[in-house]
């Protein structure tokens, strides 16, 4: 008994339940979906599942719709996250100052984040609707006709909706970052007579860099998953101009039931996001080593 115990100490045994749960809910689906991606696996032809090797992956090379969806998603992620970071940082700087109504402003500004995205999608669909929407009506009074979900504009309208909902998240993270900064460098800068702009560029930003990068990674990964606004508003249209990668995968997998292809697409998506995370993570490590 003693030898057995030392070979398999209690600490590891305590980990077993968690390991079992992770195995069941994380590893098993991942391995299974990889297995699916190597097969011609259709939900309406389960008696005829054939091994096809890497065919599902190789065929993606010539799949214009898939790469178009990937391109839309990258434009969306880049546009939305950049705007959210800039706005969030600006708001965080404003809210960081002592102000009597600070708590009030904070709670007001955070509310969009607590609405479920599908509801936000439906809200804007009606708000910007040509027949029922308040905004097109008011703009119409001014003689301006804008089709928010028409060709050319739709993707950018969706970016702005995301900015409306998720800027508060950036604000929250960046504000927490600002409040945890050491006071000494700022006092030193003030004593040396540095201007506000100079302090922001040379003191605040370098100190905030690790926090900004973490915020970028979290928000960026989340933005890749954009689905609800598109499902609720445009269904990927006009044409394919707002089809995001997750909407595309959903369509192939759960509307057309071709799970093999959908799984291969999902794995390509994982690879691309992992590559982006590694790049950002490296940048973060070097930022931490600076001081």
């Amino acid at each position: 008994m003693v030898t057995q115990r030392s070979r398999f100490p209690l600490a590891y045994r305590m980990l077993l339940p968690l390991a079992a749960v992770l195995l069941a809910v994380l590893v098993y689906p991942l391995v299974f979906s990889f297995w699916i991606s190597l097969h011609d696996y259709q939900l309406t032809a389960l008696q005829d599942v054939r091994f096809v090797g890497l065919r599902n992956y190789l065929e993606l090379r010539g799949n214009g719709s898939f790469w178009n969806a990937m391109r839309n998603t990258l434009i969306f992620v880049f546009g939305a996250v950049t705007l959210e970071t800039l706005l969030g940082f600006g708001l965080a700087l404003l809210l960081h100052r002592p102000n009597r109504y600070r708590d009030f402003f904070r709670s007001i500004l955070l509310t969009p984040m607590f609405i479920t995205p599908i509801a936000v999608g439906l809200m804007f669909r009606f708000l910007l609707n040509q027949q029922l929407g308040v905004l097109p009506y008011l703009l119409g009074k001014l003689g301006v006709q804008i089709d928010f979900f028409g060709p050319g504009l739709a993707l950018y309208s969706i970016i702005l909706i995301d900015v409306w909902q998720w800027t508060p998240f950036m604000l929250l993270l960046l504000l927490a970052g600002l409040e945890s900064l050491p006071a000494a460098p700022f006092e030193a800068a003030r004593v040396d007579g540095a201007s506000a702009w100079f302090t922001l560029r040379k003191v605040t930003l370098p100190l905030m860099k690790p926090v900004i990068l973490v915020a970028l990674i979290i928000r960026g990964l989340d933005a890749f998953k954009v689905f609800e606004y598109i499902f609720a508003i445009t269904r990927g249209g006009p044409g394919e101009s707002t089809e995001s990668i997750l909407y595309h995968i959903y369509k192939v997998g759960f509307r057309f039931f071709r799970l093999g292809e959908a799984a291969a697409m999902a794995y390509i998506l994982i690879l691309i996001t992992m590559a982006l995370v590694v790049v950002l993570y490296r940048a973060m490590r070097s930022a931490e080593e600076l001081p």
Binding site: T44, Q131, D147, P151, F254
Partner: protein, 434 residues
Amino acid sequence: MNRTLWKTLALTLLLALLVSACAAPAPPAAQAPTAGGEEATMEEVTLNVIMEEVPDYDIVAKLTAQFEADNPNIKVVFDAMPYDAMRDKILTSFLAPTATYDIIIVDNPWMDEFGNAGYLTPLDDYIAATPDYNYEDFVGPLREIGEVGGKVMGVPYYNYALGLIVRQDVFDEKGVAVPTTLDDYLQTVKDLTDKENEFYGAAMQPQRGYKIFEEWKNWLYGAGGDLLDDQGNVIINNEAGVRALDMYIDAYNNAAPPNSLNWGFDEALRAMAAGQAATMLSYNWMLPTLNSPDGPAGDLAGNFQLYEVPGGKAVLGSWHWAIPHNASNKDAAWKFISWITSPSVDKERVIMGGAPIRTSVITDPEVWEKGFGEHYYTTVLSILEDAEPLARGDHAEEIIEVVGTELNAAVAGQKSSQQALDDAAKQVEEILAR
């Protein structure tokens, strides 16, 4: 201590498994009281039915009280939901060891797919064993949708064939005849458009996917084209196809409300009801909705009239009742389906406003009188008799989506008509070759 830990763990797991295993199947059948000694025991059965939340569902739900009163041992539980949630739910139910739903409704693009996959119960024997069911009475094109590989996999629930709905008062006032050809239709809707007063000739539904294809395929028929020829070759991008799409885009640009590229049938209906449009191609049963004094059209109610789509041949949509292969109460399920679709109950359903499916009901003067008048029903019958679904086969859903995406891109100006239809044809060929 060591062993106790393992034992506890193992027990917990076992218990969890047991609980989940017990939760899955339907509650055990209870013994019903003996009814006058005629039937010794009657098993209590609960039928779970998946439904789409549409007006036709409300009518079925109302009628079902009668069925439950006649069959005290059968309880019918409806699970009504929006269209988008249905396809995944139905498929999950097929793949489960025991079906979640004893009765499902199947949209026409799914019929061949589900039927060929072996997910539906053939109904031929049930139909043959049901006296006075009169299966042949269902309008032919609707019947054909439910027949897969020579077997009946579903019986009609309601139709959603397209017709031309017009503002009769506007046509009468301007002395314009209701167009019967595609060229006339295009010219008429352009002539009726008065942009200054925000009145448009046609409220269209160019929304990407099903909606635009559903509307445009009527134009395609009108121009003499089709998706496939008799040999199954893709001909959507031939001369007739391009002409139909050019004309459709002409109408969108010159006779439809501005910025309506994302519109589906509900937006088009709203525009008609608000008096902003003179015509729309839409489901035939939109007419009673528009003409209802309590309906969305308000004071305009009564001014709308239904005609066949220009060119005559229309797009047919339909829902069918079906029984999943893994359903546990198939006999009771058929009892309900055959009751709700029986000639007498169907007549009641149509009088209450349900979309017609049986010839005998559509041609019944009592239905005309109690329903929406002779003109409506005879028009519906001529629409149904010359109508065809958007696409058939195992991949109909996908074909509709890719064609609908290309059409929408052409209307959005992202591609020329020829380019969009060539791209659509190429994708359809790839899908058919799978």
